[in-house]
């Protein structure tokens, strides 16, 4: 226990160690996070009237970001499956980065729900009267927090074992890895059920939204991970195996194509039949009665996703730069499509046919930036700590020293100890 306390203290101190670029990055994130906190304090005083939301469009940017981030979190399993189900060893260490991303993404998603609540002071009511299993929101509370705990356990345990230079006990984490795989699919499915289960909102009341959620998540999440790995490779001594990037790249490409296909199917079904239910889609894609706030956004998203798909399919373009651009396109495109493009049109027109457009306020936008900055801050710290620990440069018997080379007895995460380090 005492040893574990010392580990945490060392991690805390290590999070402040880095060169000037690291410090600028962390300072920037802290400043943005504090601006977000300031904006949230204003919202707490004035109420949600500080946002652009209305009784007509009662969910906006917060829930849009929440939805996107649940996808990012679920996408961590796309690294886990090749490793543990298909025994692809090159990816083994990288699983940790995927799961650390999941932890940061779930924390951000939960924060977005909290800032969306009108009465966060009544948070404890969830524990005193929980409408389970009737309300899908209670399912979401369970699966999101469960997923957070699972991933915290898996990463925390593996990193701590590397720190103690002892091989992790298989029985202590492998079962959780498999639970986490199923659980990741559940967080996405349940979040989609939140929306598709509402009969009064025809835009959401469509079964294909659920698989579309999964496909877009499995494109955006691994695309973000590729960007992270390229950054890690560039700025640290950590060597990311090429095979890892290649595997992620195929996952991204396939998921993106499936996502575009399902999007097309949905748009066709709605628009060709042309029933009154299609009006939200018309609003999103073309605008109705002169209201077209979302039109430039959704076409940007579609263009970015199509461009990225073409880019990834052309083999000549396999340079890092081209791939980073494609991945950034995917992340941004899916953020628009699954965020604003999925949440806001369901409210336009209102159930009584009224068209009220939603425009977020600056205070609302600042809160969103604040939460993203806080999440990236957490993720950067997680990565900052786990890299030297995993490469054996900070262990229980040795303080962190940037001058030391990687330990020859590098702690391996392989349960059958040593096979990877020697190989």
């Amino acid at each position: 226990m005492k040893e574990y306390g010392r580990f945490l203290w060392r991690c805390f101190r290590l999070s402040f160690v880095g060169d000037w670029r690291y410090h600028i990055w962390m300072t920037l994130l802290t400043v943005v996070a504090l601006f977000g906190l300031n904006a949230y304090a204003k919202q707490l005083v004035e109420g949600l009237a500080t946002t652009g939301m209305t009784d007509q469009v009662s969910w906006g940017l917060y829930i849009a970001n929440f939805t996107f981030l649940v996808g990012m979190a679920a996408a961590a399993v796309m690294l886990v499956i090749p490793v543990y189900v298909f025994r692809n060893r090159e990816l083994h260490d990288l699983v940790i980065f995927g799961e650390l991303l999941a932890v940061a993404a779930v924390i951000m998603a939960l924060l977005f729900v909290v800032v969306d609540m009108g009465r966060p002071d009544r948070f404890l009511h969830l524990f005193r009267r929980f409408n389970f299993p009737i309300s899908m929101l209670t399912w979401d509370v369970i699966v999101l927090n469960g997923y957070l705990l699972l991933n915290l356990h898996i990463c925390g345990y593996l990193v701590y074992c590397a720190y103690r230079k002892r091989p992790p006990a298989k029985s202590f984490y492998i079962p959780f890895v498999f639970i986490a795989i199923l659980w990741a699919i559940s967080i996405h499915t349940v979040t989609a059920f939140l929306y598709v289960g509402l009969g009064g909102r025809p835009f959401w009341n469509s079964a294909i939204i659920v698989p579309r959620f999964l496909a877009s998540a499995f494109a955006a999440g691994p695309a973000f991970l590729i960007l992270v790995l390229l950054v890690i490779e560039r700025f640290t001594r950590y060597q990311v195996p090429d095979k890892a990037i290649a595997t992620l790249r195929s996952i991204v490409t396939v998921s993106l194509l499936i996502n575009l296909f399902m999007l097309g199917s949905e748009v066709f079904t709605e628009l060709y039949a042309g029933s009154a239910h299609a009006v939200s889609w018309k609003y999103l894609l073309f605008g109705v009665h002169g209201h077209s706030a979302l039109v430039p956004w959704i076409w940007t998203a579609i263009a970015l996703e199509c461009l990225a798909a073409v880019w990834l399919l052309i083999p000549q373009r396999r340079s890092d730069v081209a791939m980073s651009v494609a991945c950034a396109f995917i992340v941004i495109g899916i953020w628009i499509e699954k965020g604003m493009g999925l949440i806001v049109p369901a409210f336009v027109p209102s159930p009584l046919g009224e068209i009220v457009e939603y425009v977020p306020t600056w205070n609302e936008i600042l809160i969103c930036f604040g939460i993203w900055a806080f999440g990236l801050l957490l993720f950067t710290i997680f990565v900052r700590i786990s890299i030297p620990v995993l490469s054996g440069r900070m262990t229980f018997d040795r303080e962190y020293d940037p001058n030391l080379p990687d330990s020859p007895q590098r702690a391996s995460l392989e349960p059958d100890s040593g096979s990877m380090a020697q190989g």
Partner: protein
């Protein structure tokens, strides 16, 4: 590219995390600066007023269905004191239970409604709704004759006199569904259907997630995006726990068929004010009641029957050519 983990060339070798006196001072400075920045970020919270911060009693108050009589009396006393403190008016606040053998139903005659919106404002006056920003439970749609497509309706019609000859008028409020999607989705059971068919909200339990507002197919729910603006001279002191007591910021509210009136044998405020008698209300379990007769004899319909929520709010038109006599088929 330079390695981020390399120490600066000019930095003295400190053995990793070892701390010199200079670095200790620097770290303390950073910590102090960080705390000052966090405090500055939280400064807007200083503007919170005492009455907006929940008291301990309010914080530990139980869910409506879990309170026994003594606890309810305590809650009512606390809320009354708060109303008196804020508005200088002693309210007649009580908790009125539903009556056995009663199921309330509303019927609205579209042939009669002239779109005067008197119901909208009578409702606001009766139920202590926020005047600034304006919050209303009833929305009247001006519909062009020849369609029931809600998207063709005009919500913002503004005429010197009503009705317009080319339109009919359709007021919409909570339909008090028998299978309400709004209560299903609430994560904390802050809203539920009472035995007499009225869906209510415990304003002291709602966490303000607005999931019910997303679930409602009739746009019947309203959210207090900020503290409701209500002047003392506008307060209706006749209040009940589940209906028209003043609300706080961040909670949901909705039409409750004026349950503080109707459970005591009176009629809803929107009905009483209607100048043309378009609104009918009563107990559907009583076969002799006016609403039972209307449901039996008129050609009634409900909005959006396809969403399957079984509304207790019915619309009908007067028949211009009542059927006379029997005609042989074929």
């Amino acid at each position: 590219m330079q390695d981020i983990e390399q120490p600066r060339a000019d930095a003295p070798h400190q053995g990793g995390l070892g701390m010199s006196r200079r670095s200790f001072l620097r770290h303390s400075g950073t910590a102090l600066g960080g705390m000052a920045a966090a405090a500055a970020a939280l400064k807007p919270l200083m503007e919170l007023q005492d009455e907006d911060i929940p008291s301990v009693d309010a914080f530990i108050q139980k869910h409506y269905k879990e309170m026994d009589e003594a606890e309810m009396a305590q809650a009512l006393a606390r809320i009354s004191a708060k109303v008196e403190e804020r508005f200088g008016i002693e309210p007649n606040l009580r908790d009125i239970k539903p009556k056995e053998g009663v199921e309330f139903v509303y019927a609205l005659n579209l042939s009669r409604c002239i779109g005067c919106r008197k119901c909208v404002y009578a409702c606001v006056d009766e139920n202590n709704q926020s005047r600034s920003p304006e919050l209303q439970y009833i929305r009247v749609l001006e519909m062009p004759k020849g369609t029931l497509d809600l998207e063709a309706g005009n919500h913002d019609y503004d005429r010197p006199t009503v009705p317009s000859d080319d339109h009919f008028y359709m007021p919409v409020q909570c339909h008090q569904c028998a299978d309400p999607p709004c209560t299903k989705v609430c994560p904390v059971e802050a809203t539920w259907q009472e035995p007499d068919g009225i869906t209510v909200v415990d304003y002291d339990w709602c966490i303000g997630c607005r999931y019910c507002e997303a679930a409602c197919p009739y746009w019947a729910r309203r959210f207090n995006f900020t503290k409701p603006g209500l002047e003392p001279e506008d307060v209706n002191p006749d209040m009940s726990y589940l209906s028209n007591r003043p609300r706080e910021a961040g909670v949901m509210e909705k039409c409750h068929f004026c349950l503080h009136r109707t459970r005591e044998g009176k009629l809803p405020a929107c009905l009483e004010v209607c100048p043309v008698g378009a609104r009918k209300f009563g107990n559907v379990l009583d076969p002799e009641s006016e609403v039972s007769q209307i449901l039996k004899n008129k050609r009634i319909f409900v909005l959006k029957e396809d969403v399957g929520t079984l509304p207790r709010f019915f619309y009908y038109f007067d028949e211009r050519y009542p059927r006379s006599g029997a005609v042989e088929e074929g």
